[in-house]
C-alpha cells in the first residue's frame, strides 16, 4: 500500500511546498508598495551605488561583444547580397530591441542576483533578520525595496551605456572588417530606427531588473536551504523568468 501511495504523497508535498513558496513571494511583493513610506534612504543610495559599480565592467563587456558579434553575423548577409544600407538598420534594431536587453539582463542576474542572494542569505543564516525585527525595523523596506529600486534604475542606466558601447563597436568593426564607411552605417541607423525601439528595450530592462532583484531577495531571505542551493535556484529561476517576460512583452508590444 505504501508503494502505491508514495507517488501521490510526494506530489502532494511538492505541490504544497510550491504553493507555500508562491504565497510567501506574493506577500513579499504586496508588502513593498504598502511599506513604501518607510523606505530607508541611506540603504537605497547604498544599493544604487553598489549595483552600478558591481555590474558596470561586465555590462560594458557585454556591449562590446554584442556589437562585434552582431556586425559579424550581419556581415555574412551583407557580403553575399551586397546590401550595405541594411547594416545600420539590422544591427541597431536587433541590438536596441532584443539582444542587448536580454544579454544585459542575463549578465545582471549572474552578477547582481547571485550577489544579492548570497548577501541576504548570509544575513538570514546568521539571524540578523531576527535582530532587525527585534529593533522594530521591517526587513522589507529596509532590505528588499532599496535593492528593487537599485536594480530597476541602474539596469536602465547600464543598458544605455551598453547600447552606446555596442554601436561604437559595431561602427569600428564594420569599418575594419567590411570596409563599410561610418556614414553609411550611421545614415541607415538614423533613417530606419524609431524611438519606440528604444522604448521597448527600456520597458524590457525595467521588468528584468525588477524580476531579478525580487527573486534574489526572496530566495535569499525566505527559504531554508544552504547558500549554494539558494544561489543556484536564484540564477535558474531568474533566467527562466527573463525569457518568459521577454516573450510576453514581445507579444504585447509587436
Amino acid at each position: 500500500m505504501n508503494i502505491l501511495l508514495s507517488p501521490f504523497q510526494k506530489s502532494g508535498a511538492l505541490t504544497l511546498n510550491y504553493l507555500q513558496q508562491l504565497g510567501t513571494f506574493m506577500i513579499m511583493v504586496l508588502t513593498i508598495p504598502i511599506t513604501l513610506y518607510k523606505i530607508s534612504y541611506r540603504q537605497t543610495i547604498q544599493s544604487l551605488y553598489d549595483t552600478a559599480v558591481r555590474a558596470m565592467p561586465i555590462v560594458l563587456m557585454t556591449g562590446l561583444f554584442v556589437g562585434a558579434i552582431m556586425v559579424i553575423q550581419m556581415g555574412f548577409y551583407v557580403r553575399s547580397y551586397q546590401i550595405n544600407d541594411a547594416m545600420g538598420w539590422g544591427v541597431g534594431m536587433l541590438t536596441l530591441r532584443e539582444i542587448n536587453p536580454l544579454m544585459v539582463a542575463l549578465m545582471f542576474s549572474g552578477r547582481i542576483g547571485a550577489f544579492n542572494c548570497a548577501e541576504l542569505g548570509t544575513m538570514s543564516q546568521r539571524d540578523q533578520i531576527i535582530a532587525l525585527r527585534l529593533l522594530n525595523i521591517n526587513p522589507i523596506p529596509y532590505l528588499v525595496t532599496p535593492r528593487l529600486i537599485g536594480s530597476m534604475v541602474m539596469i536602465v542606466a547600464l543598458m544605455m551605456m551598453a547600447h552606446l558601447i555596442a554601436i561604437i563597436t559595431a561602427l569600428i568593426t564594420g569599418r575594419f572588417l567590411l570596409n563599410l564607411p561610418y556614414i553609411t552605417f550611421l545614415s541607415s541607423f538614423y533613417d530606419y530606427i524609431q524611438p519606440e525601439d528604444l522604448t521597448v528595450g527600456i520597458i524590457k530592462a525595467i521588468s528584468f531588473g525588477a524580476i531579478i532583484s525580487l527573486i534574489s531577495s526572496f530566495y535569499g531571505l525566505y527559504t531554508n536551504k544552504t547558500i549554494r542551493q539558494k544561489i543556484a535556484t536564484t540564477v535558474l529561476i531568474s533566467c527562466s523568468g527573463i525569457f518568459l517576460i521577454d516573450f510576453l512583452i514581445n507579444q504585447l508590444i509587436p
Binding site: 557585454t62 553575423q73 552578477r111
Partner: protein
C-alpha cells in the same frame, strides 16, 4: 578621465590574469590526463549532473528563445516583405551558426559552471583539498579530470538537443501565429557546410572551457564564509565572458577564412 583609464587598466590586467590561470589549469589537466586516467564511475556521476540534470532548464529557456526569436523575425518580415513565409531559412541558419552554441553556452554557464564552482569552493572551505594535498594526493586528477571529460562528452549533445528544441518551438510558433506550415518553415537552402563547421567549432571550445572555468573559480575560492558566494559569482562572470569571447573569436576567424 584618469580614473577611467585606471579602471580600464585594472580590468585588462585582471582579465589577463584570470585567462592565464584558466589556460594554465587546462594545460596542467591535459598533461596529467594520460598519467592518471580518472575512474569511469566519477565520470558517469559528473555526466549525469551536466547532461540530464539540466534538461528541463534548457528545454524551458531555449523553447522560449525560439518562440521570441520567431515572433520578432515574423513581425519584422510582415512589415518589410508582407508575408512571413521566408523566415524559416534565415532562422535555421542563425540558429545553427550563432544562437544555438551562444545561448546554450550561456545557459550552461549559469547553471553548470556555477554548480561546479560552488561544489569545489565548498570542499575548499571545509579544508578537504588541503587534506588531499597533505595526504600526497594531487587534487587535479580527483576533481578536474572527471568534470572535464564529462563536459567534453555531454555538452555537445546538450547543445544539439537545445538547437533542436529551439527549432521545434520556432516551427510551432510560426505555424500558430503566422500560419507558416512546417514544410515551408524547415528550409535548409540557407544552411551551408560553413555554418555547420562554425557551430561545431564554437560548441567544442565552449564544452572544453566551461567545466575548467568552474573548477578554476572553485579552486581560487578563499576559505572564509563569503568564499562560496564569491566563487559562484566569479564562475558566472568568467563563464559568460568566455562564451562571448569564444563566439566572437570563432565568428571572426570563420568570416576571414570564408571570405
Amino acid at each position: 578621465m584618469i580614473a577611467f583609464f585606471r579602471a580600464l587598466g585594472h580590468l585588462v590586467f585582471y582579465a589577463n590574469t584570470q585567462t592565464n590561470g584558466v589556460n594554465k589549469l587546462l594545460l596542467q589537466t591535459t598533461l596529467s590526463l594520460f598519467k592518471s586516467p580518472p575512474k569511469i564511475k566519477t565520470i558517469l556521476k559528473e555526466s549525469t549532473y551536466l547532461g540530464p540534470g539540466s534538461l528541463i532548464f534548457i528545454t524551458i529557456t531555449m523553447g522560449m528563445l525560439g518562440m521570441l526569436l520567431v515572433t520578432q523575425l515574423g513581425y519584422q518580415a510582415k512589415e518589410l516583405i508582407g508575408s512571413a513565409n521566408e523566415i524559416g531559412g534565415p532562422f535555421l541558419q542563425l540558429m545553427i551558426r550563432e544562437f544555438g552554441p551562444f545561448v546554450t553556452g550561456m545557459m550552461i554557464a549559469t547553471r553548470s559552471t556555477t554548480g561546479i564552482a560552488a561544489e569545489i569552493a565548498d570542499m575548499k572551505q571545509q579544508e578537504q583539498i588541503d587534506l588531499m594535498i597533505l595526504n600526497n594526493i594531487d587534487p587535479i586528477p580527483q576533481l578536474v579530470h572527471p568534470r572535464m571529460i564529462a563536459g567534453i562528452i555531454t555538452l555537445p549533445i546538450i547543445t544539439i538537443y537545445a538547437t533542436a528544441i529551439t527549432i521545434t518551438a520556432g516551427m510551432l510558433t510560426a505555424q500558430y501565429l503566422f500560419h507558416v506550415s512546417p514544410d515551408t518553415f524547415i528550409n535548409m537552402q540557407f544552411v551551408e557546410p560553413v555554418d555547420l563547421i562554425q557551430g561545431m567549432v564554437k560548441t567544442t571550445l565552449i564544452s572544453v572551457y566551461l567545466p575548467i572555468i568552474g573548477c578554476y573559480a572553485g579552486l581560487q575560492a578563499k576559505p572564509h564564509t563569503t568564499g562560496i558566494g564569491q566563487a559562484t559569482t566569479r564562475g558566472v562572470v568568467m563563464g559568460l565572458s568566455a562564451v562571448g569571447l569564444i563566439d566572437l573569436g570563432g565568428g571572426l576567424i570563420i568570416f576571414w577564412l570564408a571570405g
